[in-house]
Symmetry: C2
Subunit: 147 residues, 2 copies
Amino acid sequence: MFFLKELPTRQMIRGYAEQYPSADVDSVEQALKMMRQASLLVRRLETYFSHHGISQQRFLILIVLDREPERTSLLASEIAERVDVSRPVMTRTLRSLVDEHLITLSADTSDKRAKQVSLTEKGKTFLAEILPGYFSEIDKFMKESAP
Amino acid sequence: MFFLKELPTRQMIRGYAEQYPSADVDSVEQALKMMRQASLLVRRLETYFSHHGISQQRFLILIVLDREPERTSLLASEIAERVDVSRPVMTRTLRSLVDEHLITLSADTSDKRAKQVSLTEKGKTFLAEILPGYFSEIDKFMKESAP
DNA sequence: TAAATATGATTATCATGGTAATCATATTTG
DNA sequence: CAAATATGATTACCATGATAATCATATTTA
């Protein structure tokens, strides 16, 4: 992440922009601000999650499973693709969710390599409990940092 | 980080917003987009840095040292404060920068606990080499993701 | 000033991100 | 159809974030 408090000055960006005339000082400055803001929000949300014994990554997996109305399960690789995280990370994170009984894994009937992942009832309930607070944390953050 | 590809739908956010009327659907949606965008940019920059044998964190330390015109060194704790990262992370990262001869550490004369951190000539040169590419990566990213 | 508290840095430990390599099974292709 | 290739999942290993505890030294306070 990117927590730098004092961003590079416009002056400094301009100095480098001179060497690379295509670089737009405003858009670089905007990008740096965006990374800082997003990092602060992620940190805030991680704190929220930690108070509920979960993490952003585990939360996103639950969300992705819950959001699939026409399917009762997804492959681990499908979740990794949607959450956009590497498969080894997925393997590890799914294990921790199984340990907490928030999801279950089952063998795929047509592909012996694959694993189907489903939300448990506990997982659904838990998600429903923490989601309002999640949105409310985001909302609070945005109101605080508004100009 | 936050890489979720398909963000929660407005519909879904609205559902939770109903329970928490203070939550503004637009600002929540904007926040989710911001986290995703920033995460993608951070990932892009980490790739850039890895091609140069450095990391975002190590880079930011060099930047902070370089940006202090009236001082030749900063305390480790001052850098941690500016980069907004925990001190144990700072200790570890400074060690790797020393190993690569990009900074030097020296004892503080007035406080025996403290360590002064300075950029080496190699550190200054290296920073000057990678900075233009850094800004240009950001600029490219912003142009790509512009509407 | 002696005791209590605070601070700079570090160590130990844990969580979570990544890539490379591997295993098992599917799929494609010669 | 056998060999080559691709894919789902995992293991091993490394980087980087955090907190708690510790050590040494400063500073405050009783």
